[in-house]
């Protein structure tokens, strides 16, 4: 799916997410249909929203964090106490880590292509057209590639869940509060500190978490689809064998 990056003040930043997109979308060719939907959801509803909208909401999170005191250093210390790691950085890390299992699949495909090329050369087919065809043909998700693909999906699901849990641990309730009370040194007493744009931050937090949930569901759906496909293929090929006949008999008896 084409992704048109919007106008960004920092071209290098855009360039890096865009080059990341180029790397990940290369894997797209060997994914299932659900996998391609997942990549689109990831890039449009999560990375694009992060870069275009969320980063400007959290842009002034430190400068807009004000404590009811003139004591120098109290602002910094209270901010650090309540925001050990910013949402934006957590999301950026989550998106990077969640996308990388797809590279496992890309590496496996490259390895298989390399092996196929060698087999072709050994069998005498050194026609450059044949070798080019190896590069462009779509790999079927069978055998060892099936296992690599399913393992990469499981990694994705586990990483997403871990990050959602981390979010819940660091920022309980997913809601951004307007006011926090802080009494770390050097604040002279318990001071009121005010968070900037709490409602907007809550809205974007809920949005990103929903998108994350949708991605988890897509990944689970993809795992179920692959497992189902493999089972049905196994049943079809083992149709004449006793095992397949036994299973069919059992299913028909229900």
């Amino acid at each position: 799916m084409p992704l048109t990056p919007p106008a960004e003040p920092d071209p290098e930043l855009k360039m890096n997410w865009a080059s990341f997109y180029a790397v990940i979308s290369g894997v797209n060719r060997h994914s299932t249909g659900i996998g391609r939907i997942w990549i689109s959801v990831l890039f449009i509803f999560r990375i694009l929203v992060l870069v275009v909208a969320a980063e400007s909401v959290w842009g002034d999170e430190k400068s807009g964090f004000t404590c009811n005191t003139q004591q120098p250093g109290c602002n910094s210390v209270c901010y650090d106490h309540f925001f050990p790691i910013s949402h934006i950085r957590l999301w950026a890390l989550q998106l990077i880590l969640v996308s990388t299992p797809a590279l496992l699949v890309a590496m496996h495909v490259a390895h298989r292509r390399h092996v196929d090329k060698r087999l072709y050369k050994l069998s005498g087919r050194t026609n450059p057209k044949d070798l080019e065809q190896i590069k462009t043909q779509k790999m079927k998700i069978t055998g060892a590639l099936w296992w690599t693909y399913v393992i990469s999906l499981l990694f994705r699901i586990v990483l997403e869940v871990i990050f959602m849990y981390l979010f819940y641990m660091i920022y309980p309730g997913y809601k951004m509060i307007r006011l926090v009370k802080c009494d770390s040194y050097p604040c002279p007493n318990t001071v009121d500190c005010f968070v900037s744009r709490p409602t907007e931050k809550t809205v974007f937090t809920v949005f990103m978490l929903t998108a994350s949930g949708v991605c988890i569901l897509l990944n689970i759906g993809e795992v179920v689809f692959l497992v189902g496909k493999a089972c049905s293929k196994h049943l079809h090929t083992a149709g004449d064998s006793t095992m397949g006949a036994w299973i069919q008999q059992k299913l028909c008896s229900f």
């Binding site: 290098e12 930043l13 360039m15 890096n16 997410w17 080059s19 990341f20 790397v23 430190k62 400068s63 004591q71 120098p72 250093g73 602002n75 910094s76 210390v77 901010y79 650090d80 925001f83 050990p84 790691i85 910013s86 934006i88 950085r89 950026a92 890390l93 990077i96 990388t100 590279l103 590496m107 390895h111 040194y185 050097p186």
Partner: protein
């Protein structure tokens, strides 16, 4: 007959810094990926780890964490100049700059390999052109096709290329270790304190200075240190793999020579036996 600089060397000159080339991470990436064709699989994994978990995280996340490090460095005093002086004392080189330097230094040994490959291609090309010139139009092989395969071929990692590659790996390890050690020494560990106490002139007395976002900075420092260690482990594994491959290759070569010698000895023995048999 082609004259002038061969394509690989031209590529190098064209892609070096010129007045209007802006050096940025994608440019470095393009250079390194070109050299990647001749690496092992571990080398390719290393490159992905480097660019995704280190360069990307640096640009996308870490730079915004350290963005306000000086403007938000606050000291408990109104004395002008005290904050500047204290910041300079506790942060001689910023983490971000150290990591940028580390990534640049660690990526460049791959260019050694690329330079050697370019040199090999250049000399092979010259030999090919001289050979086709001498043969004239009697050879039925198309010289342009040969040149193309020469450019696109993947050299096996043996001989001088093996040594170049192993040297580049050793340099990478040294740079990684060196920079990690430098970071550890300059900042007394990987943890960022919340508060530092400073009494440099012109601060009137021992003042408290507060660092901005220390926890987030500690998290990212630990992340980058972990990624750096993973890269070191990959480099060491690659080096071990290359050494093992070279050892097995030389042992295989020795075995072949031994079996050849053994079979010729056997043949001699058989001949002598036959002669003896015939004579009796």
């Amino acid at each position: 007959m082609q004259h002038g600089c061969p394509d690989d060397v031209e590529y190098f000159h064209a892609n070096n810094l010129t007045a209007d080339t802006r050096m940025s991470w994608p440019v470095l990436y393009a250079q390194i990926v070109g050299a990647n064709r001749h690496s092992t699989s571990l080398g390719k994994v290393w490159l992905s780890v480097l660019f995704i978990f280190r360069v990307m995280v640096l640009v996308v996340a870490a730079e915004s964490v350290w963005g306000d490090e000086q403007s938000d460095f606050t000291c408990n005093t109104l004395q002008p100049g005290c904050e500047n002086v204290c910041y300079d004392q506790f942060f001689p080189v910023s983490h971000i700059r150290l990591w940028c330097l580390q990534l640049v230094f660690v990526s460049t040994p791959a260019l050694l390999v690329a330079m050697y490959v370019a040199y090999r291609n250049h000399s092979d090309k010259k030999r090919l052109l001289q050979g086709s010139g001498r043969a004239g139009f009697r050879s039925n092989k198309d010289p342009d096709e040969d040149l193309e395969t020469l450019k696109r071929r993947r050299l096996p990692i043996a001989g001088a290329l093996w040594w170049t590659y192993a040297c580049s790996l050793v340099f990478r390890l040294l740079f990684e270790g060196g920079f990690m050690y430098a970071l550890y020494v300059v900042y007394d560990g990987f943890q960022m304190p919340r508060l530092v106490q400073c009494d440099q002139w012109p601060c009137p007395n021992l003042v408290d200075c507060f660092i901005s976002r220390p926890t987030e900075k500690t998290i990212f420092t630990v992340f980058m240190a972990t990624a750096s260690s993973i890269c070191m482990v990959l480099n060491m594994a690659e080096l071990a793999y290359l050494v093992a491959k070279a050892v097995t290759r030389s042992l295989g070569g020795q075995k072949e020579r031994k079996t050849c010698r053994k079979s010729s000895r056997e043949r001699m023995q058989n001949k002598t036996n036959q002669k003896l048999f015939v004579s009796t």
